[in-house]
């Protein structure tokens, strides 16, 4: 007689507890994926790289709708306030290898324009979560420059609607990668030398101009597809300038050397340069290169090389470049819009401007300051990272 009367309320309690628990969980899940219509913070980064005060960003269907003065925020909108924070466009790492493991090149064929970096991507790799937590919302993944024509880069967003997975593929036919330095010379196939590599590039470009060869090469010589050239030394830069000639405005040079002779060469040739990552063990000479190139009028994009370097590497590179003379606005552009230009997606990401994708990072302070925290990350208007909800760490893992 008594047994059921006790067990019924207990069961009721249990059910109630389950419902409350489920509601709580659902509430949190929703909370971490907010899609506000207006984001308000003390400062935001303008397309020219400066920080502007007292503006609000309105968002509609995943795009930035407008930048309005804070006193003109529409009352009825769903507003998220971030106090003293700084809102920036999502950071772009132009030399990332996030999710791309192993050798991202097939070295058997020295001219391999058909190779696509996208084919080596693991979209579920935890690198993407780390990238998001560091404020990197887009990555340019290049084939390893081990071939004269190494293939096409991929441009991906690092997060999206599905948790723990890279977001949309922005381009699977990104810039075509060229190289003619020692990394492309092999003992068992041509080219075996710098002269051989340059001759090979001239030859395939001639063919492409005459309508034969791979479509990507034909697009490149027609000025419809950009290229990325890996240059370890000044001699490679000179080679690139000789070989590409009138196509140079479509070329970005990845320059890892510290020879200041290239500064003037690059400044005169209208190419953009990719510099970095910078580490604490580099010489003053190397660390001053980004500033020198920017001063010479070269559009500089900085690289973080995540995950070979940690997630903070991109901002560390920018911070070191500024400490060694780079103008802060140029440095902020170098980790956002300049990267977007190199990747050929500057019409969609890299700046806070009406019509651009709402890929935004909320920093506690100027992103060039290394003590600035990532407070929240939005991709396509959806908040996919919130620092307040990252209090626990899986034991023994690097998943931070």
């Amino acid at each position: 007689m008594f047994a059921p009367s006790i067990s019924v309320p207990l069961a009721g309690l249990f059910v109630a507890a389950c419902v409350v628990g489920a509601k709580g969980a659902a509430g949190r899940a929703q909370d971490s994926r907010v899609s506000p219509e207006v984001i308000v913070a003390r400062r935001y980064m303008t397309p020219i790289g400066t920080l502007s005060e007292k503006q609000a960003i309105t968002i509609a269907s995943g795009k930035i709708q407008a930048i309005v003065p804070q006193e003109k925020i529409p009352q009825e909108k769903n507003v998220v306030h971030y106090g003293n924070a700084v809102v920036c466009p999502g950071l772009i790492d132009v030399r990332s290898l996030a999710g791309a493991y192993g050798n991202v090149v097939e070295s058997a064929f020295p001219v391999d324009p058909g190779a696509s970096a996208i084919d080596s991507l693991d979209f579920h790799h935890r690198d993407f979560r780390r990238a998001v937590a560091s404020g990197i919302t887009a990555a340019l993944i290049a084939p390893t420059p081990g071939n004269v024509v190494a293939g096409a880069c991929a441009v991906v967003k690092t997060g999206g609607k599905i948790r723990g997975r890279a977001g949309s593929v922005m381009r699977d036919d990104g810039p075509l990668v060229f190289g003619f330095g020692p990394a492309t010379w092999k003992y068992d196939r041509a080219p075996t030398s710098r002269i051989g590599a340059l001759t090979m590039i001239r030859s395939v470009m001639d063919k492409a101009r005459n309508g034969s060869g791979h479509g990507r090469l034909r697009s490149f010589v027609a000025g419809e597809l950009d290229a990325m050239v890996f240059c370890d030394a000044a001699i490679d830069v000179e080679g690139a300038i000789r070989v590409f000639g009138e196509l140079l405005p479509h070329v970005s040079v990845v320059y890892t050397g510290d020879d200041y002779d290239v500064v003037q060469l690059l400044g005169e040739s209208q190419v953009s340069a990719i510099v970095g990552p910078y580490s604490f063990s580099m010489s003053q000479r190397t660390l001053s290169m980004a500033a020198a190139l920017a001063d010479a009028g070269v559009e500089v994009a900085l690289a973080g090389r995540m995950p070979i370097e940690g997630g903070l590497s991109l901002r560390r590179t920018a911070s070191l470049a500024v400490r060694y003379g780079m103008d802060p606005a140029s440095a902020r552009r170098a980790i956002t819009i300049a990267g977007a230009k190199v990747a050929g997606v500057s019409d969609r990401i890299g700046a806070i401007r009406a019509g651009m994708d709402a890929d935004l990072v909320v920093f506690s302070d100027d992103p060039l300051r290394l003590d600035a925290r990532v407070l929240a990350v939005y991709i396509d208007g959806i908040r996919i990272y919130n620092a307040d909800q990252q209090l626990t760490m899986s034991a023994g893992g690097r998943d931070d």
Partner: protein, 536 residues
Amino acid sequence: MHVSTMKTRQASVSPTSWVSRRGVVSKVVCLVLFVHMTVARGQLLERATVIADARIITGGGQVIEKASIVIKGGKIVAVGENVKVPFLSRRVSAAGKTITPGLIDVWSALGMSAGTGDGDATARAEDAFDRYARDDFREALRQGVTTVYVGADGSAGINGTAAVIQLVPGTGRSAGEVLRKDAALCVNLGSNQSPIRRIKTFASIRKQFQTAVDYRKSLEDYDEDLKEYLDKLAERRKKDEGEKKTDEGAAEDEKSPEDESPSPQSGDDIEGDDSGGGGAGGLHGHFRAIFPQTTGRSHFAKSGSNGDKPKGGDKAKSPEDQKDKDKEDELKKPQKPAYDAVSVVLLRAIDHELEVRIEAHRSADILNALALAKEFHLDIVLEGATEAYLVADAIAEADVAVVLGQVERTGIFEDTEFRRHTNRNAEYLSRAGVRWAIGSGGHDPRASRFLGFNAEMALAHLPADDFSRFAWVEWLTRDASELLGMSQEVGLVAPSMRADLVIWSGDPGDPQTIVERVFVGGTLAYLAPGLAGGGL
């Protein structure tokens, strides 16, 4: 003058007295000149410098706006908004600038670019330190670093003692001065090695400490034995003198000391055998014959009279008339254990005279380090401690401090000692109540200059509510000097501290800010290019 000279000449017969008089005059003149110059120079030296109207981050948690610092004799005399400015002091305006104490790298490799090799406990970091690496020092000063701790960096094992270096202004000869020679004993548990190598490394380190303990025991035993020997010698002499007095053919009496001797020898301590440095077993009999004290401590001697028997045998062979010679054989002086330089250093660590820095990254190695500290009562500080967050409670319980290195590391080398690296290590240590400090990582000579950036990155991963904006300055100044035991000298902008000061053009956390001037001991050690007024 002329007249007096003439007079003197006339009066004095001996030319020597005239010369000596002139000497006195010149001496007086010299003295007056010397005193005058010394006073003048002394006034110059003692003239105080006042750096006025700066924002001061004291390093002790305070930020004072529009304050002044008075420097005299290389030290800070006064700090504050309304300081009393001494008479004839030089005033330098630092309006709009920020002043911090000189930054201290508690785990650096600055000036160690030549590298260190496989050393032992007797190796010294100062020997590997290149005090003429002026460009590197200038780069460090340019980022506000004035003092570095450099360890004896080497492979797995005990690598030697560390030094604390002050980056001093270019005096023409060198740019680095050793402040403390043996700041710590450097041990590396070799977390980068394979499991079996790590076991061997730890066993070898433990053995070296055990050897040091045994060495001390053997020295103590030796002292005891020596005393015993001297006592006996005195006793015998007394007896001999008595015998001579009585003038008897005392063959029976003579035996008595021989009988006595085995009893104290008869093995109250067996350990002495290992530590005595008595050499290989083949020599044992030889030593026994020559050094009865050593013999007495052998395992064989443990059964009392046994050890005495061979001696008796020897004696039986020897002619009876050589009594005195027998006596001497019997009471040989005990042998002092061979000097063990490694053990001497390790004993200083055991005696708490030398702190022990143990680099360990894997959690198992960290626990081993704690066990080593417990076994030999060592004052340890953990270095690196990549996986410290996994064993934070154990570290807190042992009350051991941790020195963290690089905050950011590569994410792709999955099977190194850094495979579980997280840039949130400091946060977990703080929560567990572990004291921690941060350096530049101790292996990269160039990383030392970016000590500030490294600390700022650590701060970015800590809860904003728990740490102030300038917490990283405190870590690199006050906390660092406390860790190095130098909190009475450096690490604070406060009276009586050495005037190691950095003048920043603005907020030190802003990468656009530059270091304009650095003072070390009150002397200008760095002046940013293009800035005037270098002398101050």
